[in-house]
């Protein structure tokens, strides 16, 4: 049983994203337990990819910084092995299908499971192609997270029916990044998921302020925040642990 179930068992969940290795892996190693202590219920760890087609500039730049600083999949695994001695916070990987495929799917999942990874979020692996990773994930007890988008419409029930862990509801069209307004009918998206399957829903893309988080949490079981956190990492560099912890604490408080 993955730890993802626990994420949504204590009220609304706050899911925090960071790019591993930005600005370096030592900082990421400190950030994970710090964000957990600050109230993050699940931490999404981005494995940087050279060509992240679903990301806006903020996370694109973070991926570039991390790769330039020498982050590799192996070094990220090594870092997580050390992190796991300090915290049992549920962890998900967010990456693109190519780094997993080229590493070797079996080999990747074996190491991921050994580091206590609970879930995988892979934005360029839609329902039609999920077999690429699904059996290896299932064999290791890792939830392969399904995403639904504002354009999914009649696809939602099909996707939700086979979903594991939680459903990642993409709030807006376009790529990741801070938005001043979210115009999608989130309540309807969530209702369509719940009609197909009783599974937690978390909303991501565009959320940055406590007010937005509170509104979105009203529609769903959790909120996911990425670019807003990565921006703080960009601003403070190796000194980002304090400011990010403070931000996470504020966001978690807003949805409680």
């Amino acid at each position: 049983m993955s730890r993802v179930k626990n994420v949504f068992s204590k009220g609304k969940a706050f899911i925090a994203f960071i790019t591993a290795g930005d600005p370096n892996l030592e900082t990421t190693e400190k950030l994970i337990p710090a964000m957990s202590q600050a109230g993050a219920d699940l931490i999404e760890i981005g494995i940087p990819f050279s060509d992240p087609i679903a990301e806006g500039v903020v996370i694109q730049n973070a991926s570039e910084r991390a790769l330039a600083a020498g982050a590799t999949t192996d070094k990220i695994f090594d870092m997580l092995e050390r992190v796991r001695k300090k915290t049992s916070v549920p962890l998900a990987f967010m990456t693109y299908v190519n780094p997993v495929f080229v590493y070797g799917v079996e080999r990747f999942m074996k190491r991921a499971a050994a580091c206590g990874i609970d879930a995988m979020v892979v934005p360029d692996l839609p329902f039609e192609e999920k077999e690429e990773l699904l059996s290896s994930c299932q064999a290791r007890g890792i939830d392969l997270i399904s995403l639904i988008a504002p354009t999914s419409k009649h696809r939602i029930s099909m996707i939700a029916a086979g979903a594991e862990g939680f459903v990642y509801c993409v709030s807006s069209l376009g790529v990741t990044g801070v938005r001043s307004r979210i115009t999608t009918d989130i309540a309807e998206m969530v209702a369509l998921v719940k009609a197909a399957r009783d599974i937690p829903c978390a909303i991501g893309f565009g959320i940055s302020t406590p007010e937005q988080a509170r509104t979105m949490a009203g529609y769903a079981d959790g909120v996911i925040v990425g670019s807003a956190i990565v921006k703080i990492a960009e601003q403070y560099g190796v000194e980002c642990v304090g400011p990010i912890s403070a931000y996470v604490r504020q966001m978690k408080a807003a949805i409680e």
Partner: protein
């Protein structure tokens, strides 16, 4: 075979946000592919706007000079806009129009696909935005102005390596944000299903015409068909008709840049491995962790770290061969064809000419080689001058 697959390759590895757009495209294409009116309209455009069929020219001086196989040139460079790209673009723009889209977006490397898309958009009253890497806008400055002249907006891509790969990334990102009224005119036989099939179908007349035209003068099939390969659209267009003719050798020429042993190359099949990127499973230039490699070629149109999935399959089965050609070999072939036949080929197509120059002398005089001259070289003249250290006032 699974839908949208070429053996193990192909597929639809794209964000969920785009899935319905791609499914809508697939459905529309399946319908219009069989629609007589659509085909008639397209044939009319090909004939009276693009100038098809393009001629098959017997390169007598080159044949004599190389002293081996007879060489024919398929003159895609004579099409309207100067390359094979117009074939695919007219098909897709017409499809976009039928689907009720009012805006087209496209990536471009050398600028040929961008120019062709801007042209079709002007003709069909579609709003048009082109994405082009900063480095390519500098190498192909004239094409940027051509696109603007045709009424398109050119977006300069600053991310990553600022070349074709990044232009594709940025066009996909743009499509994710707006698909209701927007059609993505992909420029090569790559990307998610159904693009590799759509683009191949709109390019396959190249091989069909070669077959008919050669039959009329030589009463036989060619022994080899040679084309350059970036994503691979002119090559698949030239090859497709001959796939079931086992005596016809199919040869794709990849850009080897400074050489296959030098990191500055774009020879995907020589140096790449299987991966999943830009919506498809295929071969890519990448590292052991699946990070896409920054590739290089003098030719902006071949400067791409992947290859279309149908080529990946043809390479695996051995039905087609893929060979690396360096910058220097391509430049020499560019100059050679200009001097020998009075035809200035695109630097992309010059890669195919270079390999033909190697192959022809080894073949008997009764053998026939067809080289697909995918585009004309006017756009490259300034770059070749720079390569040779000649200062010209552009």
């Amino acid at each position: 075979m699974k839908k949208g697959r070429f053996g193990n390759y192909g597929g639809q590895y794209i964000p969920e946000t785009l899935m319905n757009a791609v499914l809508e495209l697939e459905e529309a294409y399946e319908y219009y592919r069989k629609d007589e009116h659509f085909q008639l309209e397209l044939d009319e455009l090909m004939k009276n706007y693009a100038g098809r069929p393009s001629i098959l020219y017997y390169a007598q001086k080159m044949t004599r000079d190389l002293g081996g196989a007879k060489i024919y040139l398929k003159r895609e460079d004579l099409n309207h806009t100067g390359s094979h790209k117009i074939n695919n673009v007219l098909g897709q723009a017409l499809l976009a129009k039928k689907m009720g889209k009012t805006r087209v977006i496209a990536e471009t490397g050398a600028g040929q696909h961008g120019v062709a898309t801007a042209t079709a958009a002007a003709l069909m009253d579609l709003e048009c935005e082109i994405f082009m890497g900063r480095e390519d806008t500098q190498r192909q400055a004239l094409n940027v102005f051509r696109m603007e002249l045709l009424g398109a907006k050119v977006n300069v891509v600053e991310s990553g390596t600022q070349t074709l790969k990044d232009a594709v990334n940025e066009t996909m990102r743009e499509w994710t944000s707006r698909m209701d009224d927007t059609y993505y005119v992909l420029g090569s036989v790559m990307g998610p299903h159904p693009y590799p099939t759509i683009v191949r179908d709109f390019q396959k007349m190249i091989g069909k015409e070669i077959k008919e035209q050669l039959q009329a003068v030589e009463h036989r099939l060619p022994d080899a068909v040679i084309a350059c390969v970036g994503g691979g659209s002119n090559a698949i267009g030239a090859f497709y008709e001959f796939i079931d003719d086992p005596t016809v050798q199919l040869i794709g020429c990849e850009a080897a840049g400074l050489g296959v042993d030098n990191p500055k190359n774009a020879a995907t099949l020589a140096n790449g491995s299987v991966g999943i990127f830009h919506g498809m499973k295929s071969y890519f230039c990448q590292d052991e962790f699946g990070q896409i490699a920054p590739v290089y070629s003098i030719s902006a149109g071949l400067d791409y770290p992947g290859i279309g999935p149908e080529h990946a399959m043809l390479a695996d089965t051995g039905r087609a061969q893929y060979v690396p050609v360096t910058d220097l070999e391509a430049v020499e072939a560019f100059e050679y064809l200009s001097r020998t036949e009075g035809i200035i080929p695109a630097i992309e197509s010059a890669h195919a000419v270079a390999y033909a120059c190697r192959l022809a002398p080894k073949m008997a005089g009764d053998k026939i080689i067809v080289i697909n001259i995918s585009g004309r070289g006017d756009k490259d003249v300034a770059a070749i001058a720079r390569y040779r250290g000649v200062k010209i006032d552009e």
